[in-house]
């Protein structure tokens, strides 16, 4: 999406409001909804990926070292990863 949502006018829309770039919500920032953020104690991490599987947002990606870290651009801070982590790696802390 070249233009942001606010700059967009009706002339920019395709007929029938067809979206020509599928999956373009990745440009849309939902990270600013967050009131708490995940904090990682990676020493305990099993690299199991349960957090990535259960993330409603699908924003937890594997780092080259094999850890699973949430992308702050999309993470809404629900805390499901902290609740489901079998090794208690993740704690939620207030967003400052």
């Amino acid at each position: 999406m070249a233009k942001s949502e606010n700059e967009l006018t009706w002339q920019d829309l395709e007929p029938g409001c067809i979206v020509t770039t599928p999956g373009n919500t990745t440009d849309y920032k939902t990270g600013d909804w967050r009131s708490q953020r995940p904090k990682y104690n990676l020493e305990r991490c099993l690299k199991c990926g349960v957090c990535a599987l259960f993330c409603p947002e699908g924003c937890i990606n594997k780092t080259p070292k094999g850890y699973f870290i949430a992308n702050p651009y999309h993470c809404k801070g629900c805390g499901i990863c902290a609740k489901e982590c079998p090794a208690y790696v993740i704690t939620m802390e207030e967003e400052s």
Binding site: M1, P22, T25, V50, L53, P56, C78, K83, E84, P86
Partner: protein
């Protein structure tokens, strides 16, 4: 089951047809169900999405979360549009206009779109035997428009159109047993699933897609906003719903019932209702009355499994 999850989840497919950045509420269990279901779709899938939470959050112009061909329909005609697409594919491949490939057509709907408004189109599509998969995401009320009751709302739940008070217990009717209605259409595959059991869910979606003929999957999805729960409880509550017998996981292949997770002893219902604000007005007597009905339904389901399996063996 749990240990299995821990060691297998990192090898789950990286295929992610539902992009992040959608506008689902914080901690939404329904979008998690949809994301996990979408992981099991292959690239030759056409998605038909009825109006509802999952349509609104994924497709705010000019954005769209889907990386697959996706069409928005009204509340009532998701199954009708899906059967039209399926017929069109059949005709086009017969006339050699498109290469002969297996193309799956999947219709998605919420509980309002499936159980209330869209049931006639759905019933018609299943009766005609179109090769489609219909997935219902059941969050037990019309959450998108502001938590109005639907016929999938369980007994005793407080919603904005069935509020609990001095003279009202909340929702005064019992949840409609939609999977059984779909089984009565004699379709080849019906299943219930829950995103708290992701491998079970994905396996059922794959099975439904590979079925030749109509298939129906009913997915239980926790809604923190409408159920008045904390945002991090979606997975826990889904698990508790299965363990207390509120939402048993089973599949029906050609009329033969099979339980996927049999609880030898059901957990007390209060474990499930306590974290939810929509049930907080219920007293112990009311809870035990609801529990008694849930237990008898669970036993009836178990009996059905035994009976149909015996019939199969004969």
């Amino acid at each position: 089951m749990e240990d299995y999850n821990i060691f297998a989840s990192r090898v789950v497919t990286k295929n992610e047809p539902l992009a992040p950045g959608h506008r689902a509420c914080i901690g939404c269990g329904e979008v998690l169900a949809m994301r996990l279901a979408a992981k099991a779709f292959n690239k030759n899938t056409i998605v038909v999405n009825a109006t509802g939470c999952m349509e609104i959050i994924a497709s705010q112009v000019p954005y769209n979360s889907w990386r697959l061909p996706w069409i928005h329909t009204l509340f009532e005609n998701a199954a009708a549009v899906a059967s039209g697409i399926e017929s069109a594919i059949k005709v086009l491949s017969r006339k050699n206009r498109i290469p002969e490939e297996e193309i799956h057509v999947v219709a998605l709907g919420g509980d309002g779109a499936t159980v209330d408004i869209g049931i006639q189109a759905l019933s018609g599509a299943f009766e005609r035997g179109h090769n489609i998969t219909y997935i219902c995401f059941d969050n037990e009320a019309y959450m998108n428009t502001g938590i109005q009751r639907s016929s999938a709302t369980p007994f005793g739940a407080s919603t904005t159109t069935s509020p609990a008070g001095k003279k009202s217990i909340g929702q005064s009717t019992w949840k409609k047993d939609t999977p059984s209605i779909m089984v009565a259409h004699n379709i080849p595959y019906v299943a219930t699933a829950c995103p708290s059991y992701p491998f079970d869910l994905m396996e059922k979606i794959e099975k439904a897609l590979s079925t030749n003929g109509p298939s129906y999957i009913h997915i239980f999805s926790v809604c923190p906003t409408g159920w008045r729960t904390k945002s991090d409880l979606a997975i826990r509550l889904g698990r508790l719903a299965v363990e207390t017998g509120v939402f048993p996981l089973y599949e029906v292949e050609n009329g033969v019932y099979k339980m996927n997770k049999i609880e030898t002893e059901l957990k007390p219902l209060s474990l499930y209702t306590k974290p939810q604000g929509r049930f907080k007005h219920l007293n112990d007597d009311q809870l035990s009355a609801i529990e008694a009905r849930i237990h008898s339904e669970y036993e009836a389901l178990k009996e059905k499994c035994e009976l149909t399996q015996v019939r199969e063996d004969m």
